[in-house]
Symmetry: C2
Subunit: 352 residues, 2 copies
């Protein structure tokens, strides 16, 4: 060991050959042992394993990837990692990938920066990832991803209309998400059941497909339930925007009895604004969020929200990717979210 350090030129790590020499076998036999090939005599295997142990051999991933042209690495491009949704999705994918024996390389790109996304995808293609997951809620980034799909199995974690272009159908491209519309449906029917007649919406930023999906679902579900669409305000996911919008809302002429915020963080700001303006939640007004992000159970009051199973989402992504790699066409997946009823929703105050 000290000899290693003292040696003039830095000793290169032991290779298959070195192990072979040490064990008195051919490098191929070592390869067989390393790969768990059963056609090796136990005695030989033992000798090889011992040599591996002694030399501290580790197989070289690059060489293996070069020879097999498979890396067992999945690339994940995430937009807007600061938010709970994307970062949770990333974590979900990472967990599932590891369990499936894959490893994850990550690139986090700023929202809407299609060039950065394209670069990241290009890098992953260079790196020879076996599969690609793109977690994005903006059109430009998705388009970049669709182009990539020709070169490698790709999963788009996104909602909204991804029109099946030529490239889409030809290549291994799958769309997976948690069913946004269904989540909103749960919210609306919960509020309707409580007796609310009008539901306002605090939407996410324009151009974000999740924001858009939730907005459209709000419109549709409120209408089909025979309820009235309350005022529509638009925020940017941040708590501060929720607060600002909450002030606006609270001073409106005839505020409705229920507000559906497109995410929990905005809902939190909204709660504060209502509190400041003297509205009591849920007595005067019911508030619902979306995501069930950490801490949402301890807002004042604890927030009714929609829970998305990000772990399941990750698992679905990896499964689809693996299926695609094995050559099976994969159908898109829409996972069901669940409603978590807490203390921010109640019957509306008696009419008039």
């Amino acid at each position: 060991m000290a000899a290693d350090q003292a040696n003039s030129r830095p000793t290169r790590p032991p290779a298959l050959r070195d192990v072979a020499v040490a064990a008195g076998v051919s490098h191929q036999t070592v390869s067989r042992v390393v790969n768990g090939n059963p056609r090796v005599l136990p005695a030989t295997r033992e000798r090889v394993l011992q040599a591996i142990e002694e030399l501290g051999y580790r197989r070289n991933h690059a060489a293996r990837a070069l020879a097999t042209s498979r890396t067992r690495v999945l690339g994940v491009v995430v937009v807007n990692t600061r938010l709970y949704g994307p970062s949770g999705t990333l974590l979900g994918i990472e967990q599932a990938a590891r369990q499936a024996g894959y490893w994850v390389s990550v690139a986090s790109v700023p929202e809407g920066d299609a060039t950065a996304a394209r670069d990241a995808i290009g890098h992953f293609l260079d790196q020879g990832v076996d599969g690609l997951a793109v977690v994005a809620q903006t059109e430009p980034v998705l388009r970049a991803a669709q182009q990539a799909a020709g070169a490698c199995p790709t999963v788009l974690v996104t909602s909204g209309p991804v029109e099946p272009t030529d490239a889409t159908t030809r290549a291994g491209l799958v769309r997976i998400d948690i069913d946004q519309a269904m989540g909103v449906g749960l919210v609306v029917s919960h509020l309707a059941q409580l007796g609310h007649r009008q539901i306002a919406h605090l939407a996410g930023p324009t151009g974000n497909l999740h924001a858009q999906a939730r907005l459209e679902a709000w419109r549709r579900h409120v209408s089909t339930a025979g309820l009235t669409l309350g005022p529509l305000l638009q925020g940017d996911w941040s708590a501060a925007s929720g607060y600002a919008l909450g002030l606006t809302w609270a001073n409106a002429a005839q505020p409705p009895t229920a507000v559906f915020a497109a995410n929990d963080t905005m809902a939190q700001g909204l709660l504060r604004a209502l509190h400041e303006e003297g509205w009591e939640v849920p007595r005067d007004v019911s508030v619902v969020g979306f995501d069930d992000s950490p801490g949402t159970d301890q807002t004042i009051p604890p927030l009714t929200t929609v829970r998305q199973d990000l772990e399941a989402l990750g698992k679905a992504c990896v499964e689809a990717l693996v299926g695609l790699m094995e050559g099976f066409p994969q159908a898109g997946v829409l996972l069901p979210p669940g409603l978590v009823v807490r203390d921010s929703t109640a019957r509306p105050p008696a009419a008039h």
Copy 2:
């Protein structure tokens, strides 16, 4: 293009050779162009670039890594990615790495699972990462990381006493963090200045080095400021634990006028408990958090907290790693946090 599809055997992607043939030069010249070597005639370069364009050539990362034995990939092991701190740190590292021309491979392991951490580190070593960052706040994981440091430049993003063992000093091992004690110092002096005489602490889980560092700094700073150590309660970072502890606290015989929570999420639960029990913040009691995680600006009331610059942290990690790779010994880094004063702290109620 259609021909590609129709071809019986799947056409392998174009290699350096193919480009060379197309451009009528040797593969080495193509390599020079690809690597930006200036010793190529503009005319030749142009021809090569055109051939690259036409064939859609991308260089093979595995082959390159094999030949150079450098991958330009950084491995990051993160413990407890669900929390704001670790996930933000990961993001910070990713951003900085990309800017420095490196790419990031991630493994998220459960808290305290040293085996998983060891596996992840082993994998990264196999994969031939050029550097390793371990974001962990538990001893067992750190020990695993220290062993790895011999094989590859390593940065430990962690607080607490990492004793410089033989391995540490010999290998490229650096410790980087945001100065926890300094953050706590800001909190304590802020509260002292407001006139508080006793400060309680809502600590994080035992065995977590950040929790421990914050706890110890609380003890030290409160004592040296000549103040009284208030009751010490222990949570698990979650908002729910903060809430439960808050109820306990509120029903104590003589609750002090100020509480320092070890993170914002617990502080949020604490705020709710106080609110429920009829205490008004900050009139009756001041509350301070730690992290400045998203939404902390819109709790009721907005929380005074300690902001950690996770982007700077990431940058420091990458810089240290790059320095280490280039053979320069690196000193550890402690980044200064800042105090964000909001509405949850005020002068204590007048002492009778």
